[in-house]
């Protein structure tokens, strides 16, 4: 359980190889593989019931897997007991011990680890201090606010100085303001302690703002793993493209043009190259709202009618009608000045920013001819 400095640890903290788990007839995890580098803030991202919690529980040893291998610090722990994995976990429900006080909650894992009383007291004191819970030490969890309960849950994990900290949607049960504060707090704690964090969340904002490395999950498996930038710039398939980025990527049905070296789109031809596909093939075209811009001077453009204007302060999201399809674009506050529904805007869709996904399987096509 004792954390040693991260430098003398293996490069890879956690490796899952071909992990499968069934609950009855349901595949919870389906040939799941990923690697988590030591000391990284790693995010498992995906909608609910995609297998995030099961993955964390499997790493902790709470769930026996049906197939595959789980390694922690290079050691195969697939069959190892829960105890001794050097893993701590924060549950979505917080899972505080309701019959114990805050101090006793903190002390519990240390007692179970057989630490001497004076060390337990010292560490509990430090943790209480660090999480500003000194006025709550003798309270039972039921008398604490949601934010305080969350800090106790976090403290009970951190006090063990785990090598690996598993966080299962820890902010879901908090209100918006607290959630925002806790995101910063978690990043700070990660920097301070340097442990590997595996963080499960269905919240894209949490994933992108905290994750150094993000694995996007779908139906019990990882569909793409990469840095927030990777996922944003080069989504490997439609699923990732649709999940990552706010506002979401515009996705339109199109096809590879027979006439030009590019696409037939609802609003005309676009010279984007053919992405290695043959003419006439159906594709889904993706364009980030922030990549769409207004034409300057006599630049070639398409006139589109404004349908909806959503001012968000520093930026404004404008929905325009593109020959029946709906396109969202992001304008600066100044750029959106005076834009009203019904106006026509000269819209430019930069060919180099267009993502193309094969209609048949949603796989992203590499740019080029």
């Amino acid at each position: 359980m004792q954390g040693s400095s991260q430098s003398d640890r293996p490069q890879t903290a956690v490796t899952l190889t071909g992990v499968s788990k069934q609950f009855g007839a349901v595949d919870a995890l389906n040939d799941l593989s990923f690697e988590v580098s030591t000391g990284k803030f790693f995010v498992l991202f995906g909608p609910s019931s995609v297998g995030k919690t099961t993955t964390l529980r499997a790493i902790a040893g709470l769930e026996k897997i049906d197939a595959g291998k789980i390694e922690i610090d290079g050691q195969d722990v697939t069959e190892a007991p829960i105890r001794g994995r050097g893993v701590a976990m924060v549950f979505q429900s917080f899972a505080l011990y309701p019959h114990l006080t805050v101090s006793q909650n903190f002390a519990y894992p240390l007692k179970e680890a057989g630490l001497p009383a004076n060390e337990i007291n010292q560490r509990v004191g430090e943790t209480v201090e660090m999480l500003s819970l000194s006025h709550r030490t003798d309270n039972q969890p039921s008398t604490l606010s949601g934010g305080e309960q969350q800090r106790v849950a976090l403290g009970r994990a951190l006090i063990q100085r785990p090598n690996i900290l598993l966080l299962d949607e820890p902010l879901t049960n908090l209100d918006a303001k607290l959630r925002h504060d806790m995101r910063a707090e978690l990043k700070r704690l990660h920097r301070q302690f340097g442990m590997t964090i595996i963080y499960a969340t269905p919240d894209e904002l949490e994933a992108l703002s905290m994750g150094e490395d993000i694995a996007v999950m779908k139906e019990g498996t990882v569909v793409q793993q990469g840095s927030p930038d990777d996922l944003y710039e080069t989504p490997r398939n439609l699923y990732v493209a649709a999940k990552i980025g706010s506002p979401h990527m515009n996705l339109l049905d199109a096809s590879i043009s027979n006439a030009v070296d590019g696409l037939d789109t609802p609003f005309g031809e676009l010279s984007t190259g053919r992405f290695g596909l043959s003419g006439g093939e159906d594709v889904v075209m993706g364009i980030r709202p922030s990549d769409i811009r207004l034409a300057q001077d006599s630049e070639p453009h398409v006139n589109m009618k404004v349908q909806l204007v959503e001012p968000l302060g520093d930026i404004t999201i404008v929905s325009v009608d593109a020959a029946g399809a709906n396109l969202r674009m992001v304008l600066s506050e100044a750029g959106a000045l005076g834009v009203q529904p019904g106006h026509e805007l000269p819209v430019v869709i930069p060919a180099e920013s267009v993502h193309v996904f094969r209609k048949a399987d949603g796989i992203a096509m590499p740019a080029g001819t």
């Binding site: 902790a60 899972a95 894992p109 179970e112 039921s142 008398t143 309960q149 063990q160």
Partner: protein, 308 residues
């Protein structure tokens, strides 16, 4: 399936209902309590007062506020007679053996309730956390012995006691009461365990607890209220049980309800005052236990009604 604690539930004004409703509640409570009150009052009456019509409900010292013919002169005579008295006019004062019967009741009820609690809690935890194939069937089977009237069940039970030689022994009646308390204990405790958050147990497992410690350090402390409630209900059932005790205990192991029934009769008719005195004494242990477990009991009874 997450639970959140609600601090607001903690503080609730005691007198929120106001005087009007409180008085209504008091009146209804008095009607509820009247049979008990009647018995307790009778325990302090002489034989003639006990039979008097109209019923004399008030002790002498309350004569200043009620008509005199409704008052009686309190006496402790009956309580003394419970333990030793002469059985016929002029005969010598004899020990009635009631100290023994009271001991038997306490010993048998206490032992069997504790035993049922011990076995039942473990069984309930098993049923809750490690369900068997066809778990519900087992739970149903456990309940079947309580589905028949005791008078029906007694026939095979008597046979079993005859064969095993358990008739009239402490072991026999304790085992029987334990078996009788078990269904209730298991069902009650299972529902308490079912209510617990499985995440809390998993948290303890990750924090390094063995399954045994998860049970003793995490689960059990959370269901103390349930244990108290189950113990009290079991105790009341066992304490007052009559039929099995009548047929399956011997002279040495007789419990108070049986002994009480045998006090009825004799050559001077039924001594109501004496009977009431026995009942009053008989009430005390249950009232004490209930009183001391009261806080736990209230929490236990309302357990699970609040979504945490």
């Amino acid at each position: 399936m997450f639970f959140r604690f609600n601090a607001k539930d903690q503080a609730r004004e005691v007198d929120q209902a106001g005087w009007g409703r409180t008085i209504w509640a008091a009146i209804i409570s008095l009607i509820y309590f009247f049979p008990v009150l009647f018995i307790v009052i009778t325990a302090f009456k002489e034989h003639t007062d006990a039979l008097a019509v109209p019923v004399k409900l008030f002790p002498e010292f309350m004569a200043f506020m009620v008509p005199e013919d409704l008052t009686f002169k309190p006496t402790f005579h009956n309580f003394v007679d419970v333990f030793s008295r002469s059985f016929s006019a002029g005969a010598a004062v004899q020990d009635t053996g009631f100290d023994r019967f009271f001991f038997n009741s306490v010993y048998i009820a206490g032992f069997s309730v504790l035993l049922a609690l011990l076995i039942g809690t473990l069984a309930a935890f098993g049923f809750s956390r490690y369900p068997l194939k066809g778990n519900d069937t087992y739970l149903f089977v456990i309940l079947t012995t309580r589905m028949l009237p005791a008078i029906v069940v007694i026939i095979p039970v008597m046979l079993m006691f005859r064969v095993t030689g358990l008739s009239g022994t402490y072991t026999g009646i304790i085992l029987l009461y334990t078996a009788f308390n078990l269904p209730f204990t298991i069902w009650m405790m299972k529902s308490f365990f079912d209510e617990l958050s499985p995440d809390v147990e998993d948290a303890a497992r990750i924090d390094g607890s063995s399954e045994r410690r998860v049970f003793f350090k995490i689960c059990l402390p959370q269901v103390l209220a349930g244990l108290a409630a189950t113990a009290v209900f079991g105790l009341i059932l066992t304490w007052n049980e009559f039929l099995f005790a009548l047929l399956l205990t011997g002279v040495e192991t007789r419990t108070v309800p049986v002994a009480m029934s045998q006090t009825i009769g004799g050559d001077i008719g039924v001594r109501w005052g004496l009977l009431a005195a026995i009942e009053t004494l008989f009430l005390i242990p249950v009232i004490l236990v209930t009183f001391f477990l009261q806080n736990q009991l209230l929490r236990g009874v309302t357990f699970g009604t609040v979504k945490r």
